[in-house]
Amino acid sequence: MYQGEVIKNLPLSQNVYLLRVKTDLDIIFSFNPGQFVKIKINERIDPLIPRPFTIHDVKKNSFYVLYQVVGKGTKALSLVQPGNKIEFLGPLGKPFPKLENYVICAGGIGIAGFIYLLESIKRKTHPYVLPKKIFYGARTAEDLVCYPFLEGIGTKVEIATEDGSQGYKGLITEPLIKYLEKNKVDVLACGPLPMLKAVAKIAQSFGVKAYLTMETFLSCGTGFCKGCVIPLKNGNYAHLCIEGPTLLAEEIDFEALS
């Protein structure tokens, strides 16, 4: 693992934190949008297994992680203080696919990895093209932690909140459907499993491709342990840590997954 120093670790909302980790430039330069890092809190063996986090952004000598406190690992990470040393491994997994004609659909914390994608388009550091539109949903307006950034990105952003506190009132998949009725574009999506399932169905019904950035508990992140499998329709298993985290929706067997 590599050594990093925590520069900041601040809450952006009630339980969403932004972590900045300073490390060597040559490591940073190897990071691609859609890949992830595995973070270990030094000297702690409980939680035992480093947690995976999608790369949220990369600036100067640091990388950023946007995470939601959901369990033991993220709780422990939220207690880390600036100046603390952490260890990490990465970049892990495959970058986002290079799509030409597509939209982004993000649910809640699922937005995290797309910021790096959009930033690298803006900075021309990676050969991606802007999505036609960004669909960004969350439970409430307060959970739309990345909205301010998205406004300046140069492509349309459609918002949905379950409580209607901002944008469309309801699930983000509903505006997505409306859009796909008029536009034939692929979908790059990340968010809670129910949303990903819905996106898979929707894409199929409109005859477009959906690429889903999936999440699962994983241990090695390197393909060693065969622990992080996603069942595929062809009867095989995808190893999310090396074949993912972004998979082609039509190949995933969601029945076997639940």
Partner: protein, 275 residues
């Protein structure tokens, strides 16, 4: 040594360690469990974290004997590190066939995983059936003269089986495999994962086994269980192990073998041990 199933089949190892680091720090590779025929492994979830531990239920996913020899073995041998193949079978014939399958290969030894159920005996694990182990070792020995290790399960008649292995000419005991464990994934409806527990949580249990076994058998013991640091490794050695395997440590950090060896060497010097 790198424990079975914790570093894959070597395909990605050189992404994290240089050939030089591998050669100078790793005493031996123990391959992922190889079965006669390919195994897809278990459906998810295959992993569950527990306090200072990890339950795994991989289901021995592996490409099977022939594909392994064709697609993986050449690269493994290129590391120039002693290679031990972990064999998984559901009946004695499987182990024999596997051992024969490696006879012509330049592998240095085999490790028998006796924690798996013996289908011919109604699925009771070899590890809870001393007679079964006796026959198993006898039969394998007939076709395999090189280094032969048996990986003991920590549950069942461990001491009896260890003594049988010694009598039947096994070269070393690996102590121990993972501990039968259960994790509650969902309370209502109840959803559980059954698998093997490894990690620091069980280190005190395996240390005890190694300590007691080292006094009962002459066979070299290879300690394995929850080693994350050089100190952990040294604890196994002072308790009677002649070597050790690291498992979960590889999953936490693919470079941990190097760190553990370095830490251990410093500690040895500091305490004037095994000079």
């Amino acid at each position: 040594m790198l424990a079975s199933g914790t570093w894959g089949l070597g395909e990605n190892l050189d992404l994290y360690l240089t050939k030089e680091e591998i050669k100078s720090n790793i005493g031996a590779f123990v391959s992922k469990g190889i079965s006669r025929f390919p195994k897809k492994g278990n459906p998810p979830p295959r992993l569950y974290e527990t306090p200072c531990g990890l339950i795994n239920s991989i289901g021995l996913e592996n490409p099977g004997l022939e594909v392994f020899k064709r697609d993986y073995l050449p690269k493994l041998l290129s590391y120039k590190v002693p290679l031990i193949i972990n064999l998984h079978g559901e009946e004695i014939e499987d182990f024999v066939a596997l051992a024969e399958g490696f006879k012509e290969e330049k592998v240095d030894g085999i490790e028998l995983n006796i924690s798996c159920p013996n289908v011919k005996k109604g699925g009771i694990a070899f590890s809870s059936d001393p007679k079964g182990v006796k026959t198993l070792v006898k039969e394998v020995r007939k076709v395999w003269e090189r280094f032969l290790a048996v990986k003991l399960s920590p549950v069942g008649p461990v001491y009896e089986i260890a003594e049988i292995c010694e009598k039947e000419g096994v070269d070393a005991l690996v102590v121990a495999n993972t501990y039968p464990a259960l994790g509650v994934i969902g309370l209502a409806p109840l959803k559980v994962i059954k698998g093997g527990l490894s990690g620091p949580a069980i280190k005190p249990l395996t240390l005890r086994l190694v300590y007691e076994l080292a006094q009962k058998v002459e066979l070299p013991i290879i300690g394995s269980g929850g080693i994350l640091s050089g100190k952990d490794a040294l604890e196994y050695l002072v308790c009677g192990a002649k070597a050790f395997q690291i498992g979960v440590a590889n999953l936490i950090d693919p470079t941990s073998a190097v760190k553990i060896i370095q830490e251990m060497e410093e500690l040895k010097k500091k305490h004037g041990l095994f000079g």
